[in-house]
Amino acid sequence: MQFLISLHINPAVMDALTDDEKAAIGGGHGAFIEALKESGELLTTQALVDPSQAAVVSVRNGQPAVTDGPFLESKEFLGGFYLIDCENKERAIELAARIPDAAIEGLGVEVRQVMFSAGQLEP
């Protein structure tokens, strides 16, 4: 089963962390990635640039329009994600709990299963 673990970050919360705390988060992600690679559960992981660098594209009457900044007016933004392939949802949750962000108030770690165009209908 494949799951997306999305990391929702709050720039204000991140800014308030000490350098040591930031370094610990970086180290924690590094160790997490190594462990997932070794177990054969990591598909990919990406971190995204700051939401201030986002561009929202819309097309109206065939004319594209671009506005700077994120789409959602929110304190939290998608900061990055892990795409994993593991045994079941319980395992995905167990893995998500090892991500350093999960231990920090104001940062969100969300687990959602990837949908496939296959499935069972018959007994």
Binding site: S39, G40, C86, E87, M115, S117, G119, Q120, L121, E122
Partner: protein, 409 residues
């Protein structure tokens, strides 16, 4: 030298791979390194055989190439550790064609310390003779991910320190059940593949059947082995009818039964009859018997539902499971009406494993539709569609909901 097509080379390689691996492990006593060496020999064969023709003794060719790879690896390991190389490794092994280690390898790959995902991957590589790239494609993961998973699985087996022999007594019986479950998982992974980018996954169903045939050839007297093979054949027989050209799922009662594969049905039915006549009864035999009952009906209306219900009732007693109860509710609704089916479904509401299960929702939707409660049916189809992780199933459930007049709208 013989002229063979690429698929014929592939079939031969997959058949020979576990035999070659068995010969190497018997010679060198080390599963992990030998398995890597056989994988390399198989890869070399896929390049050389189609280009240069089949060697006179393909099995001997593979044993020789794999042994050289293994010895080279051993030497470089030794050199790295600045140790003397083992003299035993200097001699290429004699081919030992009389021993078939396929079962031993299967039991090893289905080691209890491994996760189900690792067991399936390792089984396909070491026993199925598939390459890591093929397995990765089949499970829709990158090759590096699959390579790491297989490597980790082999390390765990080494750490567990198993000898290269069949387990005995109760452990053997228990392990055989794990082996059958792994083959069942491989089959299901392939069977649920229906369309588009997942077409190649259908190969997994083919591989699972091939491996089940091998186990059956070794253990023809085991009723559950026979039952599993029969279940696979009877299910695989429906593959052409279970999706539309567009990749949409077609439920059993709407399938074009003339598109079912009669040869597979006949073979599966014969196997399940033989298994049921034996002294033991198990879940695979019962599921195969249910599939055979469906296969026996020319139309959905002619299905012997009392027999299907009776088989589910026995299955529920010997292997209690909420999904079995769910299926029994479908059969009960056919014999005693939708209200009886709904009453049985109500007993599953308190089961945590089923509470938000999309199949409980979708079966309830079907039965509500039959009772004429269309708003209730609509609501349950919609909820089921939201709960499934399958896009094809979601499309099907939304189409069912769409056929009913939306309430309040």
């Amino acid at each position: 030298m013989g002229a063979m097509t690429a698929p014929a080379f592939e079939d031969l390689l997959r058949e020979l791979a576990p035999q070659v691996l068995g010969a190497l492990v018997r010679r060198y006593g080390q599963f992990e390194g030998c398995e890597d060496a056989v994988q390399e020999a198989v890869l070399a064969a896929t390049v050389q055989w189609p280009a240069e023709g089949l060697p006179d003794n393909p099995r001997g060719w593979l044993v020789t190439v794999a042994s050289r790879r293994f010895i080279d690896q051993l030497r470089s390991d030794h050199a790295r550790r600045e140790r003397e190389s083992a003299t035993a490794a200097e001699v290429l092994p004699e081919d030992v064609p009389d021993t078939d280690d396929t079962l031993v390898l299967l039991f090893l790959c289905c080691h209890p310390t491994l996760t189900a995902a690792s067991r399936t991957a390792l089984t396909l590589r070491a026993v199925g003779g598939l390459t890591t790239a093929e397995i990765a494609r089949a499970f829709l993961v990158p090759e590096a991910t699959m390579a790491a998973r297989i490597s980790r699985a082999k390390q765990r087996i080494r750490a567990a320190g198993r000898s290269f022999s069949l387990p005995e007594g109760a452990e053997r019986e228990e392990r055989l059940r794990v082996v059958l479950h792994v083959l069942y998982l491989i089959f299901n992974e392939g069977y649920t593949a229906s369309s588009g980018r997942e077409l190649h996954r259908a190969d997994l169903a083919h591989e699972a059947i091939r491996l089940a045939r091998t186990v059956h050839a070794h253990l023809p007297e085991d009723g559950e082995v026979t039952g599993l093979l029969a279940l696979m054949l009877l299910t695989h027989a429906r593959r052409a009818a279970r999706t539309t050209a567009a990749g949409d799922l077609v439920p059993l009662d709407e399938q074009d039964r003339t598109a079912w594969d009669r040869a597979l049905i006949d073979e599966g039915t014969e196997l399940v009859s033989a298994a049921l006549a034996g002294p033991t009864l198990g879940p695979y035999q019962l599921q195969a018997a249910i599939a055979a009952t469906h296969a026996d009906a020319a139309t959905a209306k002619e299905t012997n539902w009392p027999q299907v219900h009776a088989l589910y009732l026995i299955l529920e007693r010997i292997a209690p499971n909420p999904v079995v109860t769910l299926n029994r509710a479908v059969a009960l609704a056919e014999t005693e009406g939708p209200q009886a089916g709904l009453a049985l479904l109500a007993t599953l509401d308190s089961d945590e494993r089923m509470a938000a299960h999309h199949r409980l929702l979708s079966v309830r939707a079907h039965l509500l539709e039959q009772t004429g409660d269309l708003p209730g049916a609509y609501e349950h189809y919609r909820r089921a569609a939201k709960s499934t992780a399958s896009l094809a199933e979601q499309r099907y459930l939304e189409a069912r909901a769409g056929r009913l007049a939306a309430p309040d709208g």
